[in-house]
Amino acid sequence: MRRYLLGRLWQSLVTLLLATIVVFLGVRALPGDPALALAGEDRDPESLRAIREQYGLDDSMLVQFWQFVSHAARGDLGQSIRTGESVTTMLSSALPVTMELSALAIFVATLLGVGAGVVAAVRRGRPAEWAANALALLGLSVPNFWLGLMAILYLSVALGLFPASGYVPFFENPIDNLHHLVLPAVILGTGLAAVIMRQTRSSMLDALSADYIRTAEAKGLPPRAVIGRHALRNSLIVVITIVGLQLGALISGAVVTERIFALPGFGKLTVDAVFQRDYPVIQAVVLVTATAYIVINLLVDLLYSVIDPRIRVRGEA
């Protein structure tokens, strides 16, 4: 176990280092001189030189990279070129919005996806399975930003059931906060729900035909206990994996959802930063995303090996 853990940790570190290098080089490949962008109207050589000096833009790539990494490790991600605000501060106000949105979306997706997946597997060949399959196909095919537009148009504007945009911090007013986030979370969760449903269905079908299920049935357990305690429990591993694998898609989805519902989150920060060529912010955003992805995948893998010892053995082999 220990060897597996160390090996997996090492892999994650290498991936993170590679990601950092790609981010660093990628941002510097962007066209346009950041010093010019910073200077704004004031373009005399003297102030340009001062800016280059201040932001270390004249240092060698290696020095700049080391500066970037050592500062980032201390939680200092530089200042926004546009607002002068510390990037760490900007992230700390944007991240909670996106994290709450994503957590709610995962919750909605798991509820819908596992529910529909179990129904489809247990009601094999009945209308319920057909309906669940059709819903999953639809969920995979609907552009969820369009679904968001439709929800705003018909549920918010026409019926006034939900606010169409905006955000209220949770600790200011929890009820209002949830009221604002319900619609975006459901919209963001639909695509994920479809993926979870399909996987739950197929792993439930596998589980239901396994010997230990027949044993459980033979010893007289009621169907509810067989499905809930035995078959579903084994299928839940799948859900954990999918959430890990779909994280990238979830973040991409959050960007669009935040844009539609005007939520001041990570996605908005990203899109704004790119349109304004705000290098330090772009750099930080991508780095945070990559780190989150790598860490969550590491956790998923470890969780996985705790739940299912066979994986651990295979990892060592």
Binding site: L18, G26, M150, L153, V255, R277
Partner: protein, 294 residues
């Protein structure tokens, strides 16, 4: 002399298998529906310059916000009086263009890498790290970065989506290669003295083709949705060129005044993606009937 005989036998086996797959697909009413919708969408897109009732970029300000059913404007017009139907037909064209280009990009890079990762153990770790790395970047961030570096355009959107789809292709081709490599006919070829390129090209690739085709059919709708998202954010196809994504982002401004302009392009994207997904699903079932019966 034995070699050509074997090739012929394998060839006929392949065609009869193909025929069986086609027959199985045509017995599935859902698959036929998907194929018909797909055919209509492809025809509408390809023949758009001849079939569309109006030029997609022509503005008729006097006819702005015409509701669907207005004579001459079957699906209505937008804020500039542009015909929604014509713009959808040209938008479908752009969607298909990006979808095919993106998936072609991912296959051109992903298939050889997947074959090599599955076949040569020595470089498997390297290629797997690369897939991890690409997977670590949310596709949208990648696309956003590419749009920032190279400018927003149809081609760049397709490349970004294609790059994001490479890891999926590599993983699927790699695992199929691993499976095929352990089968007897591959060992037989190696024993006979076949070189690695020959084994990969003549034995493994043709047998992995069905898996690759299924992957491509489900990757196309994903790419189409990706294009819509990018264009919606202003990072894909640039106005005034019609794209279903830009139509939606335009329509968002006046959605309560002219809901049809926001509803119709979305329905078009959904139908196109749905048709591809249905065809992909039923193709997979037809290729592997055991899996679907499970």
């Amino acid at each position: 002399m034995a070699v050509p005989e074997v090739t012929v036998a394998a060839g006929t086996a392949l065609t009869s298998r193909r025929r069986k797959v086609v027959r199985r697909m045509l017995r599935n009413p859902l698959a036929i529906t998907g194929l018909v919708v797909l055919a209509i969408a492809v025809l509408a897109a390809v023949l758009a310059p001849w079939l569309a009732p109006h030029e997609p970029t022509d503005t008729h300000l006097s006819n702005a916000f015409a509701p669907p059913g207005t004579p001459g404007y079957l699906l209505g017009t937008d804020d500039l009086g542009r015909d929604v139907l014509s713009r959808i037909m040209f938008g479908l064209r752009a969607s298909l263009h990006v979808g095919l280009l993106a998936v072609a990009t991912s296959l051109v890079v992903g298939v050889p890498l997947g074959l090599m990762a599955g076949y040569f153990l020595a470089i498997d770790a390297l290629i797997s790290r690369f897939t991890d790395l690409v997977l670590a970047f949310p596709f949208l961030i990648l696309a956003v970065g590419l749009a920032a570096i190279r400018g927003a355009s149809l081609g760049n959107a397709a490349i970004a989506i294609g790059i994001a789809q490479i890891p999926g292709v590599i993983r699927i081709v790699r695992s199929e290669t691993l499976r095929l490599k352990s089968l007897d006919f591959v060992s037989a070829a190696i024993v006979e003295g076949a070189g690695d390129p020959w084994v990969l090209g003549r034995h493994i690739l043709p047998n992995a083709a069905s898996v690759i085709i299924v992957q491509a059919t489900v990757a196309i709708p994903a790419a189409i949705l990706g294009e819509a998202v990018l264009s919606f954010l202003g990072l894909g196809i640039q106005p005034p060129a019609p794209s279903l994504g830009t139509m939606l982002s335009d329509a968002q401004q006046f959605a309560s005044r002219a809901p049809w302009a926001a509803v119709m392009p979305g329905v078009a994207i959904m139908l196109l993606a749905l048709a591809f997904n249905i065809v992909g699903d039923s193709l997979r079932d037809a290729l592997d009937p055991k899996a679907s019966r499970r």
